[in-house]
């Protein structure tokens, strides 16, 4: 049995139910009946104002009632047949769209230049110069490294910026800020507030193998980074290898031990200096090139480590940015910060 309050009839819920049952008319009737009460034959200023207030109040409540009705409809619509039909229709249309897209693209591929043949439009004077003169103009033995860091360096600058901006976006989303008293400002679910909730502490096998593997991985990463212009490798692959070594260490030993050599401040300043160096170095190079001035950076002998002008420092800068970004992604997803 429902217990009703004594003023049930005036409460908004009752009004709403009445309005639902009776429709618009009931509310309007209430307005008209309540204003036709006053005894004065000619409405004076006070009664006019009272009338306006009443109309205003009811309109205000009508707005609230409309909202509640829409909410009620919305909750019920999710479980009705209309929704299921619409869901299936959407699925069928999306599938049709996918099939039509595949059909048109296959039709196109049938007319594209033949795979693995030397007689394609892509084999033109552009790559002739990259391959034939790449070594003497850029000093890099790895032609792709010479291309992305010298001929088309602006694209690589854009790409490092993409990584940087993605790290900032994930920082906006996932970083748990501490307020002035050191308490977290955002809500966390139970599993996340303790970052080793699902894992045992100090797992012997993991720690043992991490102690052996991490130095090897980091050394390999540094090797790939420094030899980007001499062989396969470069900034992006070297940075990815470095970050995987760091993440392995973090996984095995936890945030406290990793925090001894990699804190948030270090992340910020390393990214800042690397990207800043890249921007300034390439700005110098672009400015000199565009105005026809000679840039004065020596190309060195091909095959030596210290050769190919700016390519090795840029590789290192890019590698550091990549390593920091991957590490900060991992740390943010796992713990909401460093």
């Amino acid at each position: 049995m429902s217990k009703r309050r004594s003023d049930w009839e005036q409460r908004p819920q009752a009004r709403f139910l009445r309005w639902m049952r009776d429709g618009y008319g009931a509310l309007d009737d209430q307005i008209t009946t309540s204003i036709s009460q006053p005894a004065a034959p000619r409405p004076d200023q006070e009664a006019m104002e009272a009338h306006d207030i009443l109309v205003g109040t009811h309109r205000h409540e009508r707005e609230l009632a409309l909202d509640r009705l829409a909410h009620y409809d919305l909750q019920n619509w999710a479980n009705t047949r209309g929704r299921k039909v619409l869901g299936r229709l959407y699925a069928v249309l999306a599938l049709l769209l996918g099939l039509i897209l595949i059909y048109f693209l296959l039709n196109t591929v049938a007319f594209m230049p033949r795979f693995a043949s030397a007689d394609v439009p892509a084999n033109n004077e552009v790559i002739a110069r990259y391959v034939e003169k790449g070594l003497e103009e850029t000093g890099a033995i790895n032609i792709v490294a010479g291309m992305i860091l010298d001929y088309r360096a602006f694209d690589t600058l854009g790409e490092s910026t993409v990584l940087f901006i993605a790290a900032c976006a994930v920082l906006i989303l996932l970083r748990i800020d501490l307020d002035d008293h050191g308490q977290p400002m955002q809500q966390l679910i139970a599993e996340e507030s303790d970052d080793r909730h699902y894992e045992p502490k100090n797992d012997r096998i993991l720690q043992g193998s991490a102690m052996v593997l991490t130095p090897i991985i980091l050394l390999f990463g540094i090797y790939v980074l420094f030899n980007g212009h001499l062989g396969p490798g470069g900034g992006f692959s070297g940075g990815a290898i470095l970050s995987s070594g760091l993440i392995l260490y973090l996984n095995a030993f936890g945030f406290q031990k990793a925090g001894r050599f990699f804190t948030y401040k270090i992340f910020m300043w390393v990214s800042f200096f690397s990207l800043g160096f890249y921007g300034v170095a390439k700005a110098y190079s672009f400015y000199m090139g565009a105005n026809g001035l000679h840039s004065g950076i020596p190309l060195g002998t091909p095959g030596a480590i210290l050769s190919s002008g700016l390519i090795m420092p840029l590789n290192i800068a890019v590698g550091l940015v990549v390593a920091c970004t991957m590490y900060i992604f991992y740390a943010l997803f796992r713990k909401g910060g460093l």
Binding site: V109, N123, N142, G158
Partner: protein, 125 residues
């Protein structure tokens, strides 16, 4: 046409995978599956790009033994483009996953339509 499609087999497969990934990104309601669809679509594009660089019988574009002849190496440009594309794809995946984590924390479901409904309900309450 079938012969042409078979000759360009890599591109055919890439395009089919692109269509599948596109449809998954559009069609699935679960956010994690959408992200997987995004990754399939991106990887298919890189396969398409990379397959444009290969020339039969030639080596990777790293100057060995001082040979800088054009006929010795494959096309280096698609390799550079794919490099850029992979970085972009990683960034997008990271952001989408971060969004998924935030939405899950708040609404405890991964279904985008259910989440939209709950958000609308919050607005009206």
């Amino acid at each position: 046409m079938w012969q042409a499609l078979y000759d360009n087999l890599e591109q055919t497969v890439a395009v089919i995978l692109f269509g599948i990934g596109f449809t998954i990104l559009l069609l699935q309601r679960n956010l994690i599956r959408k992200i997987i669809g995004l990754n399939i679509m991106s990887t298919a594009t890189y396969l398409f790009l990379a397959s444009m660089g290969y020339i039969q019988g030639r080596k990777a574009p790293i100057v060995t033994d001082g040979v800088t002849d054009l006929a010795a190496y494959i096309n280096p440009i698609p390799a550079g483009l794919v490099l850029t594309g992979i970085v972009v794809s990683v960034s997008f995946t990271g952001i989408m996953l971060a969004l998924t984590v935030r939405l899950y924390r708040r609404y405890r479901t991964l279904d985008i339509d259910q989440i939209a409904l709950l958000a609308k309900g919050e607005d009206m309450a």
